[in-house]
Amino acid sequence: MSENKVLLKVDNLVKHFPIMAGVFQRQVGVVHAVDGISFEVRSGETFGLVGESGCGKSTAGRTILQLYRPTSGHVFFGDADLVKLKGEELRRMRQRMQMIFQDPYASLNPRMTIREIVGEPLVVHDIAKSKQIDERVDQLMDLVRLNPGFASRYPHEFSGGQRQRIGIARALALNPEFIVCDEPISALDVSIQAQVINLLEDLQHKLGLTYLFIAHDLSMVRHISDRVAVMYLGILAELASREELYEHPLHPYTQALLSAVPVPDPFVEEKRKRIILEGDVPSPVNPPSGCRFRTRCPLAEKICAEQTPAWREITPDHWAACHMV
């Protein structure tokens, strides 16, 4: 995969949300949701972005697509810097990048039929007229293995897994190159998760899609991703190819995170050593000085509080931000 060209380049991306309070809604603080992340996504790959709740992974996905405008930084998609695009230019660019959302119950309008939902991008972008839209919707429903005969039904008539397929069909309507999948399976039952993951893999193969796969399920990320980045409190802790990251994690956070994931095999579980992290993730309103992981890190030393560790390429294609590596 490494010989593929870069499709998306995220350069020092920052997204801060102001905290307002009082009668005059004065700004009293800042949530450092994403605080300077850089990585590249290569054409045709699945790039996994993992982290625990509140680490900023979903904000990162949305900021990359310009659903949130970044505080600073750049997002290069092809030749264009999305951060600099506005209005019609950005709108046109949006056809090439789409999103699949976590909650298949909240992301579909309950008052629209499936045909309207899946066809809406075509209407919004003024791409097709009514008859063509119908044909395209049928085609899309086939593609996600839903019966096109159901297109006149409403979302509540479908199960969670089927709704997620509808969300995928909508995302595919404009023939995008790049899709941000934001926790697409975490609301689904175990036996249904595999159905959706297999579908995403088949579609990638068939349509040459590039995925940014945001998830907290590290086992699934290992299964689906080519390369994986680990996020902690708004920054990247580590980035490497799947095999490298899971077999030779360098950052103490990655090591602890991987050791915490249970494996469905009692023989393996019996022998596993867990690194139990102390405490909780600190608040992104007031992140720790220096290394953000130092408050929970078993290896932390004085330097970790004083200096922010640089984001360095430790071995080829294996990046980490840690003083102790």
Partner: protein
């Protein structure tokens, strides 16, 4: 089964049937479930949403809302009394005292307008008759036991001042307040991040071994069960479809559903390029009592015999399965 290693059976559920009257019709949530729990044993109960795993345990404690819920049949023996037929005040004396519970969502299981100190001391005063002062001292001890830093200072705080993991620790402290013989944990780590989940699991394992209580751990996560249960029950559509010791179950899954479920999971420790095996279709909605094997519509082996519901039978020592087809032998099972 539970007596095979010499341990006493502490809870014995027989042929439990629970239904709900809903506007859409009767929901057949639990359809004849029998199992035993041995002293100081950890029993994992696994299954997907709607399989009846929570309703089974809530029924045993008379915690399902009635109406719309209805326990149609069954017995639940605990110290020679049938929990299902205890009067309200009698079951209240068992719940929270001899049997402790923790639930999935630690935010909604705690009262937002009462301080943590007050909530944790409640069972102590209620069940053990402690005075307020004694109870408060014991609460500090309990909060320390479950790893809450500066426990004495946090007594006066409210649930919203605690993080998700800390709230679950408070729940555990409450459940353990009266030294229960059984702890029923209903998806207690599902809402938590993995590093916090690891903390909570470690804590429950440690307390379990120290106190010697039995644990029923309800979850959809086959990984969590693999690491902490000794015996596992797999549920589907309100039935137990397989039951075995944990190593036997994972190395020799025999029901096509258990088999399918284990194969549909990606693994953290393997990146062999393989397609996940998905289980086609959906679990049944249970608006009708399943006729025949409930897994038949999704089963790769379904044949005409499956029109009749297979009983849960012992196919090897301590390994029970409810399936007509012997996948290994490729033939009909001798039932």
């Amino acid at each position: 089964m539970s007596s095979s290693d010499g341990r006493q059976t502490i809870l014995k559920v027989e042929d439990l049937v629970t239904r709900f009257n809903t506007p859409e019709g009767i929901v057949y949530a639990v359809n004849g479930v029998s199992f035993e729990l041995a002293e100081s044993e950890t029993l994992g109960v696994v299954g997907e949403s709607g399989c009846g795993k929570s309703v089974t345990m809530l029924s045993v404690l008379q915690l399902i809302p009635r109406p719309p819920g209805r326990i149609v049949n069954g017995k639940a023996w605990f110290h020679e009394q049938d929990l299902l037929h205890l009067a309200p005040e009698e079951i209240r004396a068992v719940r929270g005292a001899q049997i402790g519970m923790i639930f999935q969502d630690p935010m909604t299981s705690l009262n937002p307008v009462l301080t943590i100190g007050k909530q944790v001391s409640e069972p102590l005063m209620l069940h053990l008759g402690m005075t307020k002062k004694d109870a408060e001292e014991r609460v500090v001890e309990l909060l320390r036991l479950v790893g809450i830093p500066e426990a004495d200072k946090r007594l006066a705080q409210y649930p919203h001042q605690f993080s998700g993991g800390m709230r679950q620790r408070v729940m555990i402290a409450m459940a353990l307040a009266c030294n229960p013989q059984i702890l029923i944990a209903d998806e207690p780590t599902t809402a938590l991040d993995v590093t916090i989940q690891a903390q909570i699991i470690e804590l429950v394992k440690k307390l379990r071994d120290e106190i010697g209580m039995a644990v029923i751990w309800i979850t959809h996560d086959l990984g969590v069960v693999a690491g902490m249960a000794q015996r596992v029950i797999v549920m589907y559509a309100g039935y137990i479809i397989e039951e075995a010791y944990v190593k036997e179950l994972y190395s020799n899954p025999t029901h096509p559903y258990t088999h399918g479920l284990l194969n549909s999971l990606p693994r953290l420790d393997v990146s062999k390029e393989r397609r996940l095996t998905d289980i086609p279709g959906l679990p049944p909605l249970l608006l009708e009592q399943p006729i025949g094997c409930p897994f038949k519509p999704r089963c790769p082996y379904g044949f005409d015999k499956c029109e009749a519901n297979p009983p849960l039978v012992e196919i090897a020592v301590n390994h029970k399965v409810a399936c007509w087809w012997d996948v290994k032998e490729g033939g009909l099972r001798n039932v």
